[in-house]
Every structure is written in C-alpha cells, then in structure tokens.
Subunit: 308 residues, 3 copies
C-alpha cells in the first residue's frame, strides 16, 4: 500500500488527518537524520515547478532548498512581471503547461481558491504555497511540527495566538490544524483584527478565549504564536499607531510566562518580536524557519514516492 | 562522424535541412522513451545559459525543464531590470562573458538579428529563443514535431494559419519550416494583419491561398494553427474590437472541419481559442507545449553530444 | 590540518594572507584541470545561497556557474522587489533564515559593513559579493589571479589603475590585495575621482604615484586596470562630458605601452575600452571574467572541504 500522501494535492490543511500529519512529521524527522547520499535519492531527477503570483522569498527558498536536499530541482515563474502573465495568459493555461514540464507544482496566488482550482486541472500534484487570505497549509504543518518537536506532543497544550488574526492567512490554517488536537486556544488581538470566526467552519471553538492584552494570558501559555500587524489593514493610520505599540513580545513579557514557553512566528517580522528576544531560550522562530526545509522535503518526498 | 547538429548554432529554421529535422524528431521521440537514468546522462554536468531580454515564462521554463531532464543545469539573466543591462553593459560583452561560464546559450532579444550576431561572437553554440519579429526556430521545430507525431507525416497536409500573421514571429519561422515540405498553406487573417510575404524569401508560395474568414476554408484543413491578435498592433482600437471577434475557434467551427483536424497554438492564448475547445479531441496545443520539453531536450542533447 | 580557507568567511581581502591567496590560486588552477566527474564531487549536494540586494548579473552568474561546476546548486533572492524585503523583513532575519537552508552564503548589499555583519550572525560561512563602496574581495582575488596566471608573478610589477578611483569598490579591494605584494602603483584619474587614500589604512603608499593622464605613464606599465566612470558621480554633467572623453583605452594608446602589457577591467564596461582593443593581445578582461568561474569555484571548494 502506498504511503497516505503519495500523489496527493496539498490544498488545505483540513484535508489531512492526524494520522496523515503523523506520517509527515515522522518522515521529516527521519529525513533530517538521513545521510545526504541516501536523502538525495528521494527526488533524484524530479522537478518542482514554482508558480508564484505573489512575492515570497522565504517560502520560495524553503521549497527550493527542500527539493534540492532530496536530490531534485526547481524551476519557476516567481516574478509575475517577467512572465507571460503580462501577455494576459490565463492561469488555467499556465498551470496546464507548467504541469507538463514538472513532477509536482507549488502555487502561490492572491486569489481565494486558486490552489484548489489549479489542483483540479493539473496533471501533477499541486501544493498550495499560500492562496488568498485563508490557506497556507505547509506553514500550518510546519507550525505543528515545530511544536511537536519542541514539546513532544500537541494534545493538552495551551496555545496563544497574537497579532493580526483577521487577515493573516497562516492563522486560519494554523487554527484548522490545531483543531485536530485537544488544545486550548487563546486569541490575542485588537478588536479591529479579531478573527472572522464565522470563516472557520466545522470546528469546536468551545475552548477558545478572546483577549485584548497579552499580559492577561501569558502565564497560561505553552506556545505563543505571533504574527505581524500590517499598517495597510487599518483605514485610519492613527488607529494603527495606537495598536501597533501594544502587540509585541519583549523580554519582560516573557518573564511573566512559563519557563518552557516557546515563541513562534511565521516570519518575516517587523518589530512585533523585539530583537532582545532572539537570544532567549523561548525564541523558536528561527528554528521553525529552519525546520521548514525538512518538513517540506518530507512532504515532497511522500508525494513523489509511493513507498517511504 | 558526429551527428549533424553537434556544436551547431540554431539561429534560423532556414539553416536546417529536412534531414536535420528528421534527426531532431527521431531523437526527441527516442529521448521521450528513455529511462530517466540514461536520459540524465546526456547533459550531465553541462550548463545552459539563458539570456532573456524579453519576458517569456513558457519558453524559459521549457528550456530549463528540457536541460534538467537530460541531467544538466541552467543559469541566466531573465529579468533585464536586475542585470547589468541597467549599468549600460553592452550585449556583446554579456554574450562573451556568459558564454565563458556555460556550455550552450539560449538568447531571446527584441532586436532583429540579435541571435545571429550573438552566435558570431559566442565561444559556445547559441540557440535563438526568439529574436525580433521574425525568428523563433525552436518553436517552429516544435510545431512541426507536433504535426509529425500526430499525423505521422508532414508532406501532403493542408495547414491553415489564422490570426496575426504580420507581427507574430512564430509564423515566419513556421512558414519557413513548412516550406521544406510539400504542404498546402491557407492564410486566414484580417487585411491589416496579412503576412508581409515579401519578408519570406526563397520560398515557393504557389500553393498558398489568402482567406478572410475561417469558415471559407475550415473543411479543407488537416491542421489549424492559431495565434493571438494583439491589441497594441492596431492604431485604432475600434478596428481591433471589430477584428478580434472574428478570428477565434470554437466548437461549432470545428464541427465544420475534418474529424481528424488538429488545432495548434504557440500559447499564451487570450480568447482566440474558446475554453470549450480544450476538451475536444482536436485540441493539441497543450500536448504541443508539453512536447516542447522533449523537443528542446533533443536539440540540446544533439548540440552537446557528437554521438547520439 | 584543514586547508586554511575551510569554513572561513570572505568579508575583506585584508583578512587573507599571501599564503591564503597562494592556496586559492593553486586550487583554482588545479580545479580548472580536473576531469569534470572529479570536480563535480567537490560540492556534491551542497547549496549556495545568494542574497543580492543590488543587481549584478555578472557576479551572480559567476557564482552560480562556479557552484554548479563543482557539483553544487544555488538558490537565492536576487531581485529585492519580489522578496520579503518589500514586507519590511529585516536583513538580520533574512540572513539567519537563509543560512538555515544552505551551506554557504554570498551577499551583495549597498550598505558598508553589511557583509561583515551578516558573517557575524550567519550559521554558515559568508562570502562578500560586494558591499557598500569599499569591498569586493572575490573580484580582487580574481584580479590578482588573472595577473598571476598571465605574468607568472605579482611581485615586481608596475600596475596602472585608471578611471573612477573614488567610488569603485573593486579598486579599494584591489589596492589592498596588491599591497600584499611588492608592486608599484600608478593611479590615473581626474581630480574629482581621485582615490580617497585616507580610506585605505595600514598600507605603505610610498611607491604610489598619482597621474592625470594615461599617456604620462603608459610606457612603464605591466598591467593596466580600467574602470568605468559613472555619470551619476558628477554633480555637474558638463564636467562628466569633459572627463569622460579623456579616460579610455584604444589601440593607439596601447602602441605606446610595453608589448606584454595586459589590460584588465572588472566589467561591465561602457566605452572606456574601445571595441577595437578586444582583438588585441593585450585584452585580458574577457579571460579575467572567464577565470572568475574557476577562482570562485576554488574558493567555494576550499570553504566547504577541509581537505583539498
């Protein structure tokens, strides 16, 4: 029987069971301990196609280094302005044509549902590398994997999520992912950037609590997940200035938390995590970014190899 | 004796005999059936340099995936705005410098004759990936290869070519390519976009007929080759609107054609082929794009390997 | 004992001894004579990360082809406008994240000291591929290597350096490099673009002489190093026009020089070396560019392999 991710599209984290995620996490750990020669056989001669209609250096490099680390290559359209997009080529044609050249596709697109649509027309498996405001499944997989590696479990944890909960696509995917586990969720944001919780369907939210301030809740948390607050989300710039100064993490806030609290962030950050935190043991966001390579390598390897 | 394409520049389709093209087509078919391991030995450790002064995602990805599929790598300048072009580096210096780094070059340039000039100064073979308005030889090779694969022959066919015949560089190369075979040509375009037939020299045009409407000629055709009509070619936008609506392919037009008619398009398309056609058996433009990888892989392999 | 460059950062040419440079030059020559199969084992499965905050096709392609030629791969952020830089990601985070994905980094940045700072925070060795106005160490290594290959020595030579000595970052690195050897330096520039010699510290400048005109000094030179004069350096455009016409190399100037004089240039050039010179035996700037691949391949191989 092939592995449960073989040939699968990765459109939404909702499509993956706990058992799927366990397979993925175990493979990521297995791969990270593999000798390079063996590891580089997993995608030898295989090609990843990147179709990025939105800029993202980090996600792009993470996928490229992941594919390279298992012996494969990458090609892609990563700057819409130099591509046929300028000539009015439609998304459908681009996906079909590129899927004819490669073994697996990673797609990033500003439009909601673009990745699901691409998966429906592509000859090859499609990985959603971020589409619209709501889905970024490989980021959520990575977030969970980092928690799992650091805490040894996900069930039973209390997870605080702070910042822009309304417009950050990583948050929606993360909440769907966490909902597969028995976790307590603490949402910390200004009222303007509160979660559109009606957007999250089929989830038990009974253990979720909304907070205005991090200090109310810091002492309970096992995990603190921080996201950027973007100026452009506020109609009134003075509102932004007010809010901006209240949603950040520094050393003195962390002193009020558990000693084994871990701080995560999808990066890039601006100043919502102060540089002083980088040196503290709670800071796990750089580790998180680094694990992205092995997590995505595991995902690609599972998609490409029936037996793994 | 080395194969007839070994070390050759590919500047114009006119430089290639029927016998050269047969070698190329047979190699493309041979390569497409090769086990990956064997195939990836054909350019192992070799490097393709892409110098693209015009945007083109499809042609670029086609070359990159072709080179990768035979075991080689690609590097390139594909966004003029990030390159030394900004510093006023001249084309000559760029070609000489990059040809010192790679084994073969693919060049795309808006200026007529740029590829021919590059070939004259480069240390390494140069492939014209589109220059000026008149030449795109690998596209023409691919067009012919697709016809050959689908029809089993080229001699004896009636080929309709519809759309912008005046400014489309693929058309000029295609007509030169077809002129090597015994074909009947039907040209279908608005008067404003009629072929500059004085631009095509040394070709017998006795079997060519000009048409204004596709319906006049559809029943005769074995192959219908469609190109985009670009708005910017018309001095008067109302003229464009008038013309635009008349030169497209849909299911009902195809019903008037032979049952084994095939429809080709160099892509990207806008709406000159209606989406409904994609599902019909006549639609071969996605296959055509896909064959581009193996055709270009064969071309690169022949240029790089004396015995193949 | 590992080779003296193993795991080293390459921030400034000043950090390298004559003995380090000899190791580098000998390795470059050794590598250029290696069979491809052996050579491609030197970085097999290793990844170079390019973080280029300034456009540079030549330096980028030189690094990519160098890495490829020893069996490794490259990924990178080479167009700041498509990267997270737009989202305000700070340089620190970018360097830490990318250094987690790759084995060695090459960084190009407009700010003085950026490469030194990156080296201090990166997990992996950092190569300065040009930072601020003052340092471009791999270019200086290449300049010296070209002289060494062509002349068989560096000690005892008289080297003329002409053009913009004030703002060209290659010049500062070159002068530091030459100062490790027993050379005579002749500086040829308009007064406005004279060397800021106070910027060069810890160097004996007793054998340096300043000139206004190339004809005063051409007959003494063993090496003539030319750089571009950039219009944007002049507050007054009429000053530029005046100066521009006086600092160039053509065939008739070279006739006044030694018969074995060699002419170097970091490229890109505009018109400070006339095209007629390209065909003369003195012209070594294309060879210089070409040697860049093997020199950088040697540098990468030494950094990545303890025993080489």
């Amino acid at each position: 029987m092939p592995n449960p991710l073989f040939g699968r599209d990765v459109v939404s984290i909702r499509d993956f069971t706990r058992s799927d995620l366990e397979t993925l996490f175990n493979t990521a750990t297995k791969i990270s301990n593999m000798p390079s020669r063996e590891r580089r056989r997993l995608a030898d001669g295989r090609l990843l196609g990147l179709i990025f209609y939105e800029p993202s250096s980090r996600t792009k490099l993470s996928f490229e280094s992941a594919m390279y680390s298992i012996g494969g290559g990458s090609i892609g359209i990563t700057d819409p302005s130099t591509s046929s997009i300028e000539k009015g080529e439609n998304f459908t044609d681009t996906v079909i044509v590129v899927s004819g050249y490669v073994d697996v596709l990673a797609i990033r697109h500003p439009r909601e549902g673009a990745a699901r649509y691409a998966a429906s027309i592509s000859e090859k498996p499609v990985i959603n590398a971020g589409s619209g405001a709501e889905e970024h499944p490989t980021q959520a997989m990575l977030d969970l994997y980092t928690i799992y590696r650091e805490k040894g479990r996900i069930d039973g944890l209390t997870v605080g999520i702070m910042g822009d909960l309304r417009y950050s696509r990583t948050i929606y995917s993360l909440l769907y992912a966490l909902s597969k586990y028995d976790t307590k969720i603490r949402l910390i944001s200004p009222p303007e950037l509160r979660l559109r919780s009606d957007a999250l369907i089929d989830i038990h939210k009974s253990s979720w609590i909304q907070h205005i301030s991090i200090s109310e809740v810091i002492s309970e948390l096992d995990v603190l997940y921080v996201t950027r607050i973007q100026k452009e989300r506020f109609p009134d710039p003075t509102e932004y200035q007010k809010v901006k100064g209240s949603y950040y993490v520094d050393a003195s806030i962390l002193e009020q938390g558990k000693s084994d609290l871990i701080v995560l962030h999808p990066l890039p950050r601006v100043d919502e995590i102060r540089p002083e935190v980088d040196r503290l043991p709670q800071a796990k966001y750089f580790l998180q970014a680094k694990l992205g390579r092995d997590l995505r390598a595991a995902l690609l390897a599972l998609i490409l190899n029936p037996e793994l």
